[in-house]
Symmetry: C2
Subunit: 693 residues, 2 copies
């Protein structure tokens, strides 16, 4: 960790610029928090009108400070903030948190210029900046609460194993509030604001080095540079710290809102998905999901699989848990006959000993049933995770025994165990024993499924560096022949074809290729040939080929399009039309898209995104997620398709677009005709765009 980042997390000394005696002012609240939350470093205030502020020594200017503090808070507005940053940098301060707003988030030229100036003067002096427009940083591990959030007045802090790093001020403290209400301690609640210098990603990387942390939560509205976030993920992955991220602006409406309020550049959402997945980061759908599984993460369980056992005193909960498990992709485990026999010897005859296990309302008259069957289940190797549903209990039940038996069971299995309990009084003894409790079985199963799937994602993560993004610039389209040649030279199989400049050449091509053939007009000016009648399929003889040539040359010349020739290509048989495309994302670099192909790829999209570098196994995984995936293995007696050949073609495309010096701006190969296993695949048509500068 660099000294400036250390100064953000654990400064030895802090100065507040624009300090106020009023703890409800932005320049006053951090002082109050530093006093209240036990910060033990040196604290200074700067205010030309005071000699003491909230008990802290106060100086008229930064020059007058007795030392260069490690960290500074800037709480003065506009130009004064830029001046303060300049002086702090000159004084040798390591990091400063600029709370002042009115900069980049306003999208005004002066605001943006002020923000750029702060970064530049800071960087030139080796100082780093959090903000501007930052609500501040809060570390409850050491009391370094450089924040003006009112949330820490409303909801008392408690140090703990969770860290929150957020661009948004509100989203740094709302997860804090939700977790604190559940009794969970939160060490960090950091808001980075406009991210003009230190970004969420970079700060997350510093936080991830804290060995006490067991869960890191992120809120992001835009990812202008994925590298620091990937670094943070690598650090977290190396030490087994799970990261859950809420990246908002998923939808066009959300991106529009993000643009309005921060001027942030929108990221292509499924590239974000792929990036987070590759780095082992779970992407929460919303705020609820961001914090839903926290208790499970804090237990430190390592789920071995997804097979679920559900146990309840309500048959309805059993049914609903099974529905929820199916929905969440968790199979209901099949218990061994011996386990069932052991349970049958204990439970009443009308109970169910298949999983889900319905103890029935008999639990009301015999609270021991629960503890009696759990050991049998614990010994069964068929299950990976458990949900205990007790929708109704109370005074008539020995709830303490249920909680104790469940805790013993969790201890004995070492596997994830969660409870679904609606009544607070029944939930309390479970919580006291450290068992995660949810109100409903669906929420319990869904948290368990997230936790399990996240661990699978962590195990499969490849926190490798992305291929760098390239600057956008002027582009030119290659014609079909040129596009196919580019692909062929990269190792992608393309349809046998000849580019013909005369009708005689076309006739000769027919003779050489053998009928039937496809004839297509070739022009770097025409991307959509069919609409102009520039595609003729299934021509059976020389005359037809010659006639097609003549017609297409006329069409192109009459239309004022470049006439690059006419392509005569073999008619190839195959099983399914797929597609592979690629483009260069301005933030994440080259990306490759594969999917079902043909005429309707835009109208009926079925595609998956691959982030280079990737290998054939990644392509196979992406293929298995397509809607058309069931066809690949062969249905209705058909043989499987040649996915290996397709995967090889896709990795060739990946290599082509990521090669050093590659000028490929985008490409679209559609269709790629795939044959049965062993028959390969072949690109029938392609359009490549290259940058020209």
């Amino acid at each position: 960790m660099t000294p400036p980042l250390r100064a953000c997390l654990a400064p030895g000394s802090i100065v507040v610029i624009g300090a106020s005696e009023n703890p409800d002012k932005i320049g006053g609240r951090p002082l109050a928090y530093l006093a209240k939350f036990g910060y033990r470093g040196r604290v200074y205030a700067v205010n030309p009108k005071r000699s003491e502020t909230q008990g802290f020594p106060t100086f008229p200017s930064i020059d007058a400070l007795p030392e260069a503090p490690e960290a500074a808070i800037v709480a003065v507005p506009g130009a004064a903030a830029v001046d303060a940053v300049t002086q702090l940098a000159a004084a040798g301060v390591k990091a400063c948190v600029v709370m002042s707003s009115g900069f980049g988030e306003t999208a005004s030229p002066e605001g943006i210029a002020g923000e750029v100036r702060m970064r530049e003067v800071a960087r030139a002096a080796g100082m780093r900046v959090v903000g501007p427009n930052s609500q501040g940083l809060a570390n409850f591990g050491n009391g370094a609460v450089l924040s003006f959030s009112s949330m820490f007045i409303e909801v008392p802090p408690m140090d703990g194993p969770v860290g929150v790093v957020s661009q948004s001020g509100a989203m740094s403290v709302v997860p804090y509030c939700m977790l604190r209400r559940r009794g969970i301690g939160v060490r960090y609640a950091h808001a980075t604001g406009n991210d003009c210098d230190i970004t969420v990603g970079e700060l997350a990387g510093a936080v991830a080095e804290d060995p006490d942390l067991k869960l890191l939560l992120l809120y992001l509205e835009s990812i202008p540079d994925p590298a620091p976030l990937a670094d943070a993920a690598r650090i977290a992955h190396a030490r087994g710290l799970p990261i859950v991220a809420l990246k908002s602006g998923r939808t066009p409406a959300g991106q529009q809102a993000a643009r309005s309020h921060t001027g942030a550049l929108a990221n292509e959402d499924r590239v974000v998905d792929a990036f987070l997945e590759r780095n082992g980061i779970w992407r929460a759908r919303d705020l609820r999901e961001l914090v839903a599984a926290t208790e499970l993460y804090l237990k430190g369980w390592k789920p071995a699989g997804r097979r679920l056992v559900a146990i309840s005193n309500s048959g309805a909960v059993c049914v609903m848990a099974a529905d929820a498990a199916t929905r969440a992709g968790m199979p209901i485990a099949t218990l061994a006959p011996g386990t069932r026999a052991e349970m049958a010897a204990i439970l009443p005859s009308f109970a169910t000993t298949t999983n889900p296990i319905d103890i029935t309302a008999a639990l009301m008259t015999n609270s021991g049933l629960f503890g009696a069957i759990l050991p049998a289940i614990a010994r069964d190797p068929a299950a990976d995770a458990f949900v205990i549903g007790i929708p109704v209990a109370g005074a008539a039940y020995d709830v303490e025994a249920f909680a104790r038996d469940t805790a013993d069971f969790a201890q004995a299995t070492g596997k994830p165990v969660v409870a679904a309990i609606t009544q607070d009084e029944v939930a309390a003894p479970f919580r006291e024993r450290g068992l995660p409790v949810f109100q409903t079985e669906a929420e319990a199963v869904s948290a368990l499924a997230q936790f399990t799937a996240h661990h699978e994602r962590i195990d499969a993560a490849k926190p490798t560096a992305l291929v760098a993004a390239r600057a956008a610039g002027p582009q030119r389209m290659l014609n079909e022949a040129g596009s196919l040649a580019r692909l062929a030279s990269a190792g992608v199989p393309v349809v046998p074809h000849r580019l013909c400049r005369t009708a005689d050449e076309a006739a000769a091509a027919f003779a050489a290729i053998g009928g039937p053939v496809v004839v297509k007009g070739c022009s770097a000016d025409v991307a959509h040939k069919s609409e102009l009648g520039l595609v003729r399929l299934g021509l059976m003889d020389t005359d037809a080929t010659r006639a097609a040539f003549i017609a297409m040359e006329k069409t192109l010349r009459d239309g004022g399009f470049a006439f690059d020739g006419v392509l005569v290509a073999a008619m190839v048989r195959g099983r399914r039309e797929l597609m592979v495309g690629a483009h260069v994302d301005p933030v994440f670099g080259p990306v490759v898209v594969i999917g079902d192909g043909g005429k309707y790829v835009e109208a009926l999209p079925d595609s998956q995104l691959l982030l280079p570098p990737f290998d054939a196994a990644d392509v196979h995984r992406a293929l298995s997620r397509l809607r058309v995936a069931p066809l690949f293995t062969g249905v209705r007696g058909e043989p499987p398709m040649d996915l290996d050949a397709f995967a090889q073609a896709v990795t060739a495309v990946g290599a082509l677009v990521t090669a050093p010096g590659s000028r490929i701006a985008s490409l679209d190969v559609n269709p790629v005709l795939i044959g049965s296993a062993g028959d390969g695949c072949v690109a029938l048509d392609a359009v490549v765009f290259e940058t020209t500068d």
Copy 2:
């Protein structure tokens, strides 16, 4: 309402059979509840060992009672319960609630027989039975709490506008618990148990007649007979009472669990979906969704549309609300320039006056901003619903003013307004003013979306009677010619074709139809022709047709299949292969399925279900929900397809399968080739199964 149902809801007198002095016993708790919750009718107990039970007069036998009570509770086990029901029926009791278990839910022959016997003796005498295995009925409007649920001890009741009717005991009280915790009053918490006589549907119909009710919640595990539920929906629909139902057993695993614990027959889940939709009932995905939007229903709002406005002091909440709205199918409303100008005059320059409206943290220093902009928004006709997000506030803010301003705003617009507030203290004044509050914007938007979509569903509901289910029986398959003939006679356009018994007839058919033709072997023994080489496409002359005839006759005869002839049919061009199928659901009667057609309808399903009676508009609505729907209007310059012709064909199929005396057990018409608008559609292949008895 019949007298027995009135006796369930508002009995003038009640007897408990198997009464106990111990209020924690099944036979004791109802007596305690009747005393505690203010029941004002006459209460008797039957127990041969006592003369008084919990203060209520107690008699040795049913015979000895001074009158025939209107309602009875049976809390004695096994055969004694059947005896009690027999005697109660003989005594003239109107309705009895059998709490005893060990009957149909055990799936044992004796259990099932006992249950059947109870129903029979009751019905013969005009008495009706709730249960057996029922946790009981609870009416907090009049204190008629004939229930042994412990929940009413744990969570004190309060009468209110919500009713819960559930097969499961737990699911009758868990929604109660969740609502009571939110301060909402619940009048009914009824559990019907095994539904041997009075079902959830029938009881729901009785409850729906209560004019005080504003929301009816149902939990169902199986629907053995949809008619009473449809009746309940009709009653509720007529008086504007919304019904939300949780029907579990959606997935194979859930259905398996339901079978294990109640022996219930599984319903085909998407038929349930269609049935509930047609009847205006919202289907909740899980327990959380069952109760999530309750506060909105209780407000009695009538949403006019889906256009949403989001307002927050956090830009992040604005972004997340926009994402959530898009996900939930609510467009972000475009506010009028005048509205924006009014807001711009009030809000700071860095605030956002496009929707979502970001007031920014400036709200902290000026609590009046909120109330200042709301009137402008209220005057804008562009919005149908509102979400107010205040993720962070507290002592520094005038939270009372926010709540008051929001309540005034809701009053002024008369439109749905919900708040998303994480901090309890901030939420409290909103709740006090009757505003629905959710913890997160995603939950707020999702409840609003459900509420809005449910009102659309209610407006579109057609609570018409279903076509009766028919008994399953032996079936026979018609060959292709017979199947096409059946469809043609029903008015479905079929491909021009001839069934030929000789090669000469086939040659003549070619001449008459004109080439190219399709030739297909025809046999009532062969459902899958392609696999046997019994389909030849694109034959261009008489000789090829004749040869195909000879080959197919040989294939069928060699294979030992009936040789019904060879079909020679025209090759028809069209735009897309669709399909229409029908089968007879054992519970819901005939159902029709439409979808994308072709070879892979099972592997890549894209279909929608229609419940007869339906009309062309219903078919169009179903078509619009298909994945392939975007193609229907024409993409990439194509003309639209002839959906009217297809809808007409589907209504013809609907009429065919629902005609009185119809013997159609199932049919599968695939493909139905659809042409461009005006070109019609035509069935190319079909298989019809008929019942033979």
